[in-house]
């Protein structure tokens, strides 16, 4: 618990005192909207990202076996916590909404505890909507057996459209 609290503190500090890099305005089509408790909005009180903005954040990759694909696939994209940090998100819960209005709640903590990826490339290729793109919240299923349960499968929202920070 102490560790977790410390991490939270660290994150809070990073958000408040970190590089005062103002969130750019999106130039291309908006692929993700973060709203709610966001301290660095760039359009109204929401933080909006186009694909280029997400691409500029540090990129991570892993290969994992998932229920949605028959074989193990490679996922690439920024970490969810980097995205949240970029827009100064602070909260306890994230409500993810997909293009089809599928909604699921993720504990804010998940983004800190796990290297949750906001995948934008599948096998190094952009994901079309019909391929569950363009963004896919994906937990590092290969790293821990704890994650390979329905709870985390259901939290892995695909065709992600927006995140509400609560």
């Amino acid at each position: 618990m102490i560790t977790r609290r410390r991490m939270m503190c660290c994150l809070a500090m990073a958000v408040s005192t970190g590089p005062s890099l103002a969130l750019d305005a999106p130039r291309g089509p908006v692929v993700l909207t973060v709203y709610g408790r966001v301290s660095k909005p760039n359009r109204g009180d929401t933080a909006q990202f186009d694909m280029a903005m997400l691409e500029r954040l540090p990129q991570h990759s892993f290969v994992a076996q998932t229920p949605w694909y028959a074989s193990a696939r490679k996922f690439t994209g920024p970490l969810l916590r980097d995205v949240l940090a970029a827009c100064g998100a602070q909260g306890s819960n994230l409500r993810a909404t997909a293009l089809n209005d599928y909604r699921v709640d993720l504990p804010f903590e998940d983004a800190l505890r796990f290297d949750v990826l906001l995948a934008r490339l599948l096998d190094d290729k952009p994901m079309a909507v019909r391929d569950k793109g363009p963004l896919f919240i994906i937990y590092p299923f290969g790293s821990s057996a704890e994650l390979r349960t329905t709870v985390y499968y259901s939290r892995s929202a695909w065709q992600l459209k927006s995140l509400e920070v609560q």
């Binding site: 229920p67 293009l99 089809n100 599928y102 079309a128 019909r130 065709q159």
Partner: protein, 733 residues
């Protein structure tokens, strides 16, 4: 029971494994998730159709991007139905396969306008053309959704029932397990109870056994006591019997009767030995045997053993050599009778089980394991020997070497057991060592309690100065062919106060012994005409008992053991290596005569010193007067006549008994002689006869011979006294 428990445990494990597998199955296949996908396919279908219909109505309201998004979402949903999990659920089910095929066909056609490549422009007209096909999908998709829903419901119901079943089985197994544990507990309790009962039974049994053992021990002790009493009771009349047998001998028997009597006496003697053994054994067993310690002269003791055993050894042509360590104390504190008994037994066995060679008795100091000083008698023979098994049985009751031995050698078989028991009672032991065919060695050890003795005046003088007479002057016959040696020996012996006589060869020596009395013969082994061994054999074979038993010492430069053995075999008493030193000669004389000075004195002066040193009267008038009052003078005279007439015959019998080593004969005759002499008041004669009687078994042969000689002389003296008293007519002529 154990098997049942194992089976139940295995069954529980199986049920749990299956439940686990079932849960895993659920997690992996996520059938319900597939149902959700189907619902979403239907929902997206409905949203797409709404957009699609609106788009066909008016191109102005056609939101291409929105339609495209709805279309793509729907296609992605349909795509999900193609993955293997969904396929597994829907395989072989027409409700799925057909709608899926229809959807795929529609997607293939509409992709021409809404697909990624978009070959055709999206216009309301194109969309309208595809609309009927889109509409046609509504019913199959709905059917598919319902069907999947039902299917999953069934599966869930099935799974639930399986879980319920498993639960029931698990419950039953648990109940069974409980029952088993319960019965195990009951069994354990029963075992505990049985164990307790058995332990109580064992305690009872132990008590019974202890009691039984005590009873048995008490009974055994009672038997031993009874046996001891009976043996003692038997001995008393038995001594009477022996006495009567000895008296019977003097009643003028013919040769045949004498022979019978001899056999009877031998049997009686044997019986007495057995009785003594049994008595000793029972006393030892009942713990009532006590040792009576007294000062014992060790050399005396050995002389007794020698005198009793030499005749037996000679009968079997065995040499008997007795050797004592000169450093031993003269006197020790010990139970004389019992020590003698053990030695007699050991030597007797050695003689009994040897048919040739030599029996050696050695006495020396030894130290016990705890370092205390011990006296060790070692009796070694060259007899038949024993193997290990026989040795182990040796000290067991009634056992001899083996059955054939028992038959050959006779005996009670108690001897060694008694000897060992006695030795252990003394704080020592008897230990046997042997090899088959190589003779045996018995070691008897006992604690050494040396006694300080006032040194005899002669002893230290003799040790330091051999010229001083250590013993009384002896008549010594030296058989030696070499003149220089003769002169040397003469000087030596005269210097020691003895009277030397010389014989030039064996024949002369034998002749001299026949004609004169000598105290000792020093016999050279190498002589012309007849050598020392031959001369010794001749002397030992002489009919005259005194002459035949004269001590003979071999003189030779040959120091080989075989020579020594040959000398001892021939009947020589000891052995002196040439050149003869005064010390050794002196020590030899002391050994043979030193402890018997009284006897030497008696031999010289024929005054009785064997008993108290005071000379007994030849004729005790008081007794004779009493006899005269008891019977007419003529009757007494007649009795005296027959007594004196039988006198020479008695003397001869004593000598023959001495020569033949028949200690019992000697005793019986001496006893008879004593009785008769006492009746007439011949005190000195009776005393001599008694000395003979008592010393028969343990006094050296040459002393017995002296006593017999003295008896002979006293017989004459008594007759003269009777004649002087007027009871007998002087013998004329």
């Amino acid at each position: 029971m154990g098997v049942a428990l194992a089976l139940v445990v295995a069954a529980v494990a199986l049920v749990q494994a299956r439940q686990f597998a079932l849960l895993k199955h659920t997690v992996v296949y996520q059938d319900d998730y597939v149902v959700l996908s189907l619902y979403q396919v239907e929902a997206e279908y409905l949203r797409l159709r709404e957009h699609w219909v609106r788009a066909t109505l008016d191109s102005a309201v056609l939101d291409r991007d929105a339609l495209q998004l709805r279309y793509d979402i729907w296609v992605s949903r349909v795509g999900l139905l193609h993955n293997e999990r969904a396929a597994r659920l829907m395989v072989g089910n027409g409700d799925y396969a057909e709608p899926l095929a229809m959807m795929d066909r529609f997607i293939a056609r509409s992709d021409k306008v809404l697909g990624t490549t978009k070959p055709l422009p999206v216009t309301p007209a194109v969309l309208a053309r595809l609309l009927p096909e889109l509409d046609a999908l509504a019913a199959p998709i709905h059917t598919m959704t319902l069907s999947a829903s039902h299917h999953v419901s069934e599966q869930i119901a099935e799974r639930n029932s399986a879980v319920r079943q498993h639960n029931q089985v698990a419950l039953m197994l648990t109940v069974f397990l409980s029952l088993l544990v319960l019965s195990f507990g009951l069994m354990a309790m029963r075992q505990m109870r049985l164990l307790g009962e058995r332990q109580r039974a064992l305690v009872d049994l132990t008590a019974h056994l202890r009691e039984a053992r005590q009873q048995a021990e008490a009974a055994s002790e009672a038997k031993s006591v009874f046996l001891a009493n009976m043996s003692h009771e038997i001995r008393t009349p038995f001594h009477g019997l022996l006495g009567m047998l000895s008296l019977l001998r003097d009643t003028g028997l013919n040769a045949r009767q004498v022979d019978y009597l001899r056999t009877a006496t031998e049997s009686a003697d044997h019986l007495l030995t057995i009785l003594n053994d049994v008595l000793d054994m029972s006393l030892l067993e009942s713990g009532r045997l006590t040792l009576t310690e007294e000062p014992v002269d060790l050399r005396d003791l050995l002389r007794e053993v020698e005198s009793l055993m030499r005749p037996q050894a000679q009968l079997k042509s065995l040499a008997l050599h007795i050797d004592a360590d000169p450093g031993l104390p003269e006197k020790v504190r010990a139970d004389r009778t019992r020590v003698k008994q053990i030695l007699f037994n050991l030597v007797n066995n050695a003689v009994k089980f040897s048919d040739r060679g030599v029996v050696v008795v050695e006495l020396h100091r030894a130290s016990a394991d705890d370092g205390s000083e011990q006296l060790e008698f070692v009796v070694t023979d060259t007899g038949i020997g024993m193997d290990q098994a026989t040795l182990e049985r040796l000290f067991k009751r009634f056992s001899q070497g083996d059955e054939s031995r028992s038959r050959r050698h006779g005996g009670t078989g108690l001897g060694l057991e008694i000897s060992r028991s006695l030795a252990r009672l003394m704080g020592g032991d008897v230990i046997a060592k042997s090899m088959p065919g190589e003779g045996s060695s018995f070691s008897f050890r006992m604690p050494l309690h040396a006694l300080e003795t006032a040194p005899r005046p002669s002893l230290p003088a003799a040790t330091t100065d051999p010229a001083l007479p250590g013993v009384a002057s002896l008549r010594v016959l030296v058989a030696e062919d070499h003149p220089v040696n003769r002169q040397y020996m003469a000087a030596l012996l005269e210097g020691m106060g003895h009277r030397p006589f010389f014989a030039g060869n064996g024949l002369e020596a034998v002749q001299a012994i026949r004609e004169q009395r000598f105290d000792i013969v020093l016999m050279d082994l190498h002589m012309p005409l007849l050598d020392g061994v031959g001369a010794t054999l001749s002397i030992r074979g002489l009919p005259d008992g005194v002459a035949a038993t004269v001590p003979i010492i071999a003189l030779t430069a040959d120091a080989f053991a075989q020579t020594r053995e040959r000398c001892l075999m021939a009947g020589m008493n000891d052995f002196l290596a040439k050149p003869v030193s005064p010390e050794r000669l002196s020590a030899m004389f002391r050994r043979l005569f030193g402890g018997a000075q009284a006897a030497d004195a008696a031999a010289d002066g024929y005054i009785d010193a064997t008993e108290s040193g005071s000379a007994a009267v030849v004729l005790d008038r008081t007794t004779l007067d009493a006899a005269l009052r008891a019977m007419p003078r003529e009757r007494l005279t007649q009795l005296l006549h027959s007594f004196f007439d039988e006198g020479p015959e008695m003397v001869e019998r004593l000598r023959v008994a001495l020569r033949d080593g028949q200690a019992l004969d000697l005793r019986v005759n001496a006893h008879a002689a004593r009785g008769a002499a006492l009746n007439f008041g011949f005190s000195a004669l009776a005393q001599t006869a008694q000395a003979l009687h008592e010393g028969a078994t343990h006094v050296p042969a040459h002393e017995i011979a002296r006593l017999i000689q003295r008896y002979e002389q006293l017989l004459a003296a008594s007759r003269e006294a009777c004649e002087a008293a007027g009871l007998l007519e002087p013998v004329t002529g």
